[in-house]
């Protein structure tokens, strides 16, 4: 255990000093996006992977977090560098999560998933139509407070670390066991005396909080949001699920692995590094660029059919199987009558 903690601490320090040596803004931007998606994947994973409540509407919390920050800046309630806004964005998102959870947890399974999707669409429509508050479909522009990417890098690294530690602590506490019990068999959990509605709500609150923080950070970092971006079903809600499933749902490190692959793939689609000699280079680049969701859709289908446990989950399974096989061999080799 201590060895693992030291290793993790070393890795964290290693990541933290990266901006001191890397001044390439493109690489820093990629890393910021990886951390952002790891944060989103982790948040979704707590509710969807560990608690088994698959949400198709997490863009609701992302959008609420982003708009909380944006509205504070716009209305002059906060100075330009509103870093405490991250916290506020998370809190407002959690508040919205409490309301959505109160409504949606009346339903189970896929019906829960879809009802939360419906409510996130309602929030998007409100953001489009409530022009005085949100500036409507025009969106809100904001000049980022820091010029250097390094500042954002450290902020998002800190947030991702906090969320990782929080979720790990939660999953090691009694809450975590309740969450797993609810995922495995809700009726059984209820009959054992777990107030399932209450614990599903706790899981949603934590998940919505970190998603809101991520949305808030996105607003501060990108400097522009509109309802179509931050409340997007296909670009936020579905991609949070993709990131988690790619890495491995219900694993601690899965979302981070998924985030690395997702950001790399998005970059490949956005700016495909095709050699100059390839025929129809422009056409292929255009196809990849405009068809990125098409390929992500195929990726979702392939993952579900062939790697239902994701990368980390599949590797873990292989490792466990190998251990079992070795243990079996050892037992077979042992003299009879002893085992």
């Amino acid at each position: 255990m201590a060895k693992n903690s030291l290793l993790a601490l070393g890795a964290l320090v290693g990541l933290a000093v990266v901006p001191l040596f890397v001044s390439n803004t493109y690489i820093l931007h990629m890393l910021v996006m990886v951390f952002l998606w790891a944060l989103l994947g982790q948040s979704w994973n707590l509710l969807g992977g560990f608690t088994g409540q698959v949400s198709y509407g997490h863009a609701a919390f992302f959008g609420v977090g982003a708009y909380t920050s944006a509205i504070m800046v716009k209305s002059g309630l906060s100075p330009a560098a509103a870093w405490w806004g991250l916290l506020l964005g998370g809190l407002v998102a959690a508040l919205v999560g409490a309301v959505l959870g109160w409504i949606c947890f009346r339903l189970r399974g896929p019906y829960f998933s879809l009802s939360i999707l419906a409510l996130s669409e309602v929030l998007r429509l409100i953001a489009v139509n409530w022009k005085q508050l949100t500036n409507g479909a025009e969106g809100i522009l904001y000049i980022p407070a820091f010029n250097s990417k390094a500042a954002y890098y450290w902020i998002i690294l800190a947030v991702v670390t906090v969320s990782f530690l929080t979720i790990r602590a939660v999953m090691r506490s009694k809450f975590g066991f309740y969450f797993l019990a609810i995922r495995e068999d809700q009726d059984c959990a209820e009959s054992l005396g777990i107030n399932t509605t209450k614990y599903k709500l706790y899981s949603l609150l934590i998940s919505a909080f970190f998603t809101g923080v991520a949305g808030s950070f996105y607003m501060n970092y990108m400097g522009f949001i509109d309802p179509g971006i931050v409340f997007s079903l296909s670009d936020i809600s579905i991609m949070m699920i993709l990131v988690t499933m790619l890495g491995g749902a219900a694993t601690m490190t899965g979302p981070a692995v998924g985030a690395v692959l997702y950001v790399l793939m998005s970059e490949l689609f956005r700016d495909p590094p095709l050699p100059m000699w390839i025929p129809f280079r422009e056409a292929i680049a255009h196809l990849l660029k405009s068809g990125h969701l098409f390929f992500f859709g195929i990726l979702i289908i392939v993952i579900i059919i062939y790697f239902p446990h994701g990368i980390v989950g599949t590797l873990h399974e292989k490792w466990v199987n190998r251990k079992l096989r070795l243990a079996g061999r050892a037992a077979a080799a042992a003299p009879k009558g002893v085992a």
Binding site: G48, G49, G52, V54, Y56, I103, C104, R106, L107, G109, P110, Y111, S113, L114, S115, L117, A118, L119, E121, V122, L125, I126, V128, N129, R183, L233, S234, I238, I241, M245, A249, A250, L287, S290, G291, L293, F294, F296, G297, I298, L299, I300, I301, I304, I305, P308, H309, G313
Partner: protein
């Protein structure tokens, strides 16, 4: 009666008429989803995208061969049936019993299918809005009602009327099919209890293929009927998937007559809300009713659905 009151009555009548006509089409969309949900217990999140595929099929048949959208139903529905069977057979059935951490892999799979379909359409046909310019697109039939000395003139859009009539006949045909034929009985038996149905010698796998095919064919019909009165673009499916889901929840999950009622209620809510409250929130009214039903009538409007 003063002319102002007559005007108000005219507006209300008009809103109710367009709501009901629209509701007929919505019911057709909801029926397909309700059928699939009843038999397979999964929500088909590619439902609107299937409709989009049918809409493009109808569009190209009209543009290239001048086939009337109502005639093209005869081609579009069987083609959508086959597409539905293929999706069920090659994509959904393999993961139906797969072991996985997430309980709803099949539903996520339909999300993936929907993304693939809509973005394939985007790649092939570009994001342009298109419409099917049939000669009768803006033809209307007027109905004058004498009321307290004033004349209230109500108009019925011709393509909407035809669409409504076809939707109703397809609904009745589905009802008869489920109630009177052997295959229909097998579908209902599978929906009630899959294991018991397979013990009674029903090939439930085949039934799931047929069900998904039927659902796709129904939503395909809705797409073809919607073509003359609506515009189409690759991302049109998403909002209709949510509408279909709202309809099925309103009607009670997996309840076929309920789906028809749900469609009518949604159509009325949208048209009343957009005239009397706000046009910008047109798509939100369905969701708001949906949330109210979830809170107060979790078993659907008819109270017979599975909660």
């Amino acid at each position: 009666m003063s002319p102002q009151v007559a005007g108000q009555i005219e507006l209300l009548g008009q809103v109710l008429i367009s709501g009901i006509l629209l509701g007929g089409l919505y019911a057709l969309i909801g029926l397909g989803m309700s059928l699939i949900m009843g038999v397979m217990k999964i929500i088909n999140l590619a439902h609107g995208e299937l409709m989009m595929v049918a809409m493009y099929g109808t569009y190209w048949m009209f543009t290239l061969a001048k086939v009337d959208p109502y005639v093209s139903l005869l081609v579009v529905c069987p083609a959508m049936f086959l597409l539905g069977v293929a999706i069920q057979k090659f994509l959904i059935t393999p993961v139906m019993n797969a072991d996985s951490v997430l309980p709803q892999n099949q539903v996520l799979l339909t999300v993936g299918i929907g993304l693939v379909l809509s973005n394939l359409a985007l790649l092939l046909f570009s994001a342009n809005y298109r419409s099917v310019p049939v000669s009768y697109a803006s033809k209307t039939i007027y109905w004058d009602v004498k009321m307290g000395g004033q004349t209230v003139s109500l108009s019925f859009s011709y393509p909407f009327l035809v669409a409504f009539a076809i939707a109703v006949s397809l609904g009745v045909a589905l009802f008869l099919f489920l109630g009177m034929t052997d295959t229909g009985r097998m579908i209902r038996a599978t929906a009630q209890d899959k294991r018991a149905a397979s013990l009674m010698g029903i090939n439930t796998k085949r039934i799931t293929y047929i069900t998904f095919g039927l659902g796709a064919a129904l939503v395909g019909a809705a797409g073809a009927l919607l073509d003359p009165v609506y515009y189409l673009y690759p991302q049109i499916g998403g909002p209709f998937t949510s509408k279909a889901f709202v309809i099925t929840v309103l009607g009670g999950l997996g309840n076929i007559p309920g789906a028809i009622l749900g469609g009518l209620v949604l159509g009325l809510a949208e048209s009343l809300g957009s005239v009397y409250i706000s046009l910008g929130y047109k798509d939100a009214f369905g969701f708001i009713i949906f949330v109210l039903v979830l809170i107060f009538l979790p078993r659907g409007l008819l109270g017979k659905g599975r909660a």
